[in-house]
């Protein structure tokens, strides 16, 4: 529907015609009475429309559409935005991306990933949760980054705050030592990862994480009780720079899964999907060892907290409140 937005009163909402005529200010009797001239015009209009439709259908069958859409207005010809250049620190996301590429040029041991989440900027839209699920093709029940709603006080004296909760990538992770088969460990760059091929699926790490940051893949699909499981759910996921197909109970089905700061995107010089997608720009991501990076700068704020510090896990995710 490409109907233009017009001011409609409740009585005018039930028909298209009334909406079309809304600007003309016609009385109801006039609007619903048809003169012979009107009828003739209507019939000829309908006839013309049918004819046009038939001709255009025939033409579209004969002439193949261009393989690649071209010309003004297509996505390939969008003008460069003057307000935000791709160079320098003109925009937080671009600055962070440049810093990320700089960090990726260093050896893995000398970078240490850090995420800062400004809860004052988070609007609770859950876009990061959804973007993460799309990026990593997460099945039902597997969520790497839920947004937790926290309400303080009672209406009307109340405030609602949002805490996105990725994996804290702890410096002293409680999930790593409990793994009986050494299938999970902390990389030198600070990210805690899971070896899907080694993990036996005992779920001990899930119980040991005080943040509930690990979820297990039980092998279900969102569209499994519909006529067919949709192909977009069966596409392999590219986590850890590999292709993982979930078909026939293959890994990662039966494994513990968790946020890995989109390592496969970092390899391509891209920010984690949750950072890129955040409409409030509430996320800062970068190398803690690079003192000039935006994330490191934000991590020096005085109004910071870390979740459940008393557990001694030393999280790498910082919240600004």
């Amino acid at each position: 529907m490409t109907k233009k937005k017009t001011k409609t009163t409740p009585t005018q909402r039930d028909g298209d015609m009334s909406a079309k005529d809304a600007g003309k200010n016609i009385s109801p009797e006039e609007a619903y009475s048809f003169s012979p001239v009107d009828r003739k015009r209507a019939i000829s209009l309908i006839g013309a429309a049918i004819g046009l439709g038939a001709i255009s259908t025939i033409i579209s069958r004969i002439v193949p559409p261009p393989a690649v859409p071209e010309g003004d207005g297509t996505i390939r010809n969008l003008p460069q935005l003057k307000s935000g250049g791709t160079e320098g620190n003109s925009d937080n996301l671009i600055r962070m991306q440049n810093e990320l590429r700089r960090a990726m040029a260093k050896p893995m041991e000398s970078r240490r990933w850090l995420m800062v989440i400004d809860t004052r900027k988070c609007v609770g839209c859950h876009a990061c949760t959804v973007a993460c699920m799309a990026e990593n093709r997460l099945p039902p029940g597997v969520v790497y980054r839920p947004v937790i709603t926290d309400q303080q006080g009672r209406y009307p004296r109340q405030i609602t705050r949002f805490f996105p909760r990725p994996c804290m990538q702890c410096d002293n992770p409680s999930c790593v030592p409990v793994c009986p088969v050494r299938a999970t460990w902390k990389r030198p760059d600070g990210v805690v990862i899971v070896d899907y091929d080694k993990c036996i699926g005992c779920r001990y790490c899930l119980t040991a994480c005080p943040y509930g940051a690990r979820t297990s893949d039980f092998g279900s699909y969102y569209t499994e009780h519909t006529p067919e499981i949709q192909p977009y759910e069966q596409q392999p996921t590219n986590e850890y720079n590999k292709s993982w197909s979930r078909e026939d109970h293959g890994s990662p089905v039966g494994n513990a899964r968790k946020c890995h700061f989109c390592l496969h995107r970092l390899e391509q010089g891209l920010l984690p999907q949750c950072v890129s997608t955040c409409i409030g720009r509430a996320n800062y991501f970068g190398d803690a060892n690079d003192a000039t990076s935006l994330a490191a700068e934000m991590a020096r704020s005085g109004n910071q907290v870390r979740l459940l510090e008393e557990k001694g896990t030393k999280p790498s995710v910082i919240y600004l409140v």
């Binding site: 039902p140 029940g141 597997v142 969520v143 839920p146 947004v147 937790i148 709603t149 926290d150 805490f163 909760r165 409680s174 030592p177 409990v178 793994c179 009986p180 088969v181 050494r182 299938a183 080694k198 993990c199 036996i200 699926g201 005992c202 779920r203 001990y204 899930l206 119980t207 040991a208 994480c209 005080p210 943040y211 509930g212 690990r214 979820t215 297990s216 893949d217 039980f218 092998g219 279900s220 109970h249 890994s251 089905v253 039966g254 494994n255 513990a256 979740l307 459940l308 557990k311």
Partner: protein
């Protein structure tokens, strides 16, 4: 009434009927179990109800239950073979056999719980000795080996003498004797020495591995319900209680049943009563400390136990059936009747399963961060858990498998002789 008396007087008839009931129950459990295992193999975990909050369910509770029975009955058998406690001598072999069967049941239960059953060998090849789970796995592997060898040496003499028989049983004995034909009195004495050494080595291993199972839960600081120094010890105590209780039941059925094992059953009853009272004391201590401390995270699990949706598991199953009634049965004059004591054993053994469920599930059924389960809409991220039909069916199958092994053992394995 007279009919009933007449019925019980005809002992052969009773035994025959009991055997019929036993084998029917065994066959039914196995049949139901086939469904559970079929679903587990074909659909994986889809039909199971645990998730990412309640990460472990019925199968893990079953695992710690069965493995507790194993450790408990092994420790009872060590009273005979290490400490030379004559009163239990009649059921020594039966106790070791029980330890082996229940250990196999436990391993089946935890194997089904793995996300990748085909990778179970990873635990032996890539162990991480910082994990209590790896310690537990290594210790129970050692324990299994030890029991198997101990059983061999316990029964070798009987196998060797029985192998000469040309009946079907004789052939089985020949196979089980592993080629040993030495049926002299000296070899019997040598076997006895070997058994004593193995049983002695088995005591620390059984204590370590079952304490290790308790530690596996106790070390998890993220779940305050488990995070207590009493936990490993509570596991051991419950293991002794459940193992002893199961043995009272088993010795009233197998090895000539209650009429011959009367003394053993009554003696076991006394031991189980003492252990059960100690177990209750430990549990009361856990509750008192948690509630007097009053930290919400710590009491949340206990709240679920006492007044959650499955509080009946605590009050009815674990409390009334598993604790109060058997304690009364073991205190009142019924303690002198082997059948009543065996019934108390059955109730305690069943009640401890409720206790195991109450360890695993309420400890997990609390969201780690307030608001986590409302942030994710999925039945896998939900503190509410009740085992699914296929989960129950699989566990039934494991019980049926255990019954089958017991039945075959009763039929094939040599019985205890009156005088050794």
């Amino acid at each position: 009434m007279s009919l009933l008396q007449e019925y019980f007087n005809d002992r052969n008839k009773v035994v025959k009927n009991l055997k019929l009931i036993f084998w029917t129950a065994c066959a039914l459990s196995l049949l139901i179990g086939f469904y559970g295992w079929f679903v587990r193999i074909v659909d994986g975990h889809i039909k199971a109800n645990y998730g990412s909050i309640v990460t472990w369910g019925l199968w893990v509770a079953g695992y710690i239950y069965f493995i507790g029975l194993s450790a408990g009955s092994f420790l009872v058998s060590s009273l005979v073979y290490v400490f030379n406690y004559k009163k239990f001598e009649r059921i020594g072999k039966l106790a070791v056999f029980t330890a082996l069967v229940t250990l196999l049941m436990a391993l089946l239960s935890i194997w089904a719980d793995l996300g990748h059953m085909g990778r179970a060998w990873h635990v032996i090849v890539f162990p991480n000795f910082k994990s209590p789970m790896a310690w537990m796995i290594y210790l129970y592997s050692l324990y299994m080996l030890l029991i198997a060898v101990e059983i061999y040496f316990l029964l070798r003499y009987d196998f060797a003498t029985g192998a000469n028989n040309s009946t079907f049983k004789g052939k089985i004995y020949k196979l089980l004797s592993l080629g040993s034909k030495d049926s002299t009195e000296e070899s019997k004495q040598r076997d006895k020495k070997v058994v004593k050494r193995l049983a002695t080595a088995g005591i620390p291993i059984a204590i370590l591995f079952h304490g290790g199972v308790g530690a596996l839960f106790g070390v998890v600081s993220a779940r305050p319900h488990w995070h207590s120094g009493l936990f490993p010890i509570l596991f051991l105590l419950s293991a002794l209680v459940s193992g002893g209780a199961l043995l009272t039941l088993i010795s009233s059925i197998f090895q000539q049943g209650w009429s011959k094992n009367k003394g053993v059953i009554i003696e076991l009853g006394k031991m189980v009563l003492a252990l059960l009272l100690l177990d209750v004391l430990f549990q009361v201590s856990e509750f008192l400390v948690a509630y007097r401390g009053g930290i919400p995270g710590h009491t949340a699990g206990f709240d679920l136990v006492l007044s959650g949706p499955y509080a009946w598991v605590f009050w009815g199953w674990q409390g009334l059936i598993g604790t109060v009634i058997p304690i009364l049965l073991l205190i009142f004059p019924t303690r002198k009747s082997p059948l009543w004591v065996a019934l108390a054993g059955l109730l305690i053994a069943a009640g401890i399963f409720g206790l195991r469920l109450n360890i695993v599930i309420p400890g997990l059924a609390v969201e780690e961060i307030h608001g986590l389960t409302s942030a994710i809409y999925s039945h896998r991220v939900d503190p509410h858990y009740f085992p699914s039909i296929s989960e129950w069916a699989l566990t039934m199958g494991i019980v049926g498998f255990g019954m089958l092994l017991f039945g075959l053992g009763e039929y094939f394995l040599p019985k205890h002789e009156e005088k050794t």
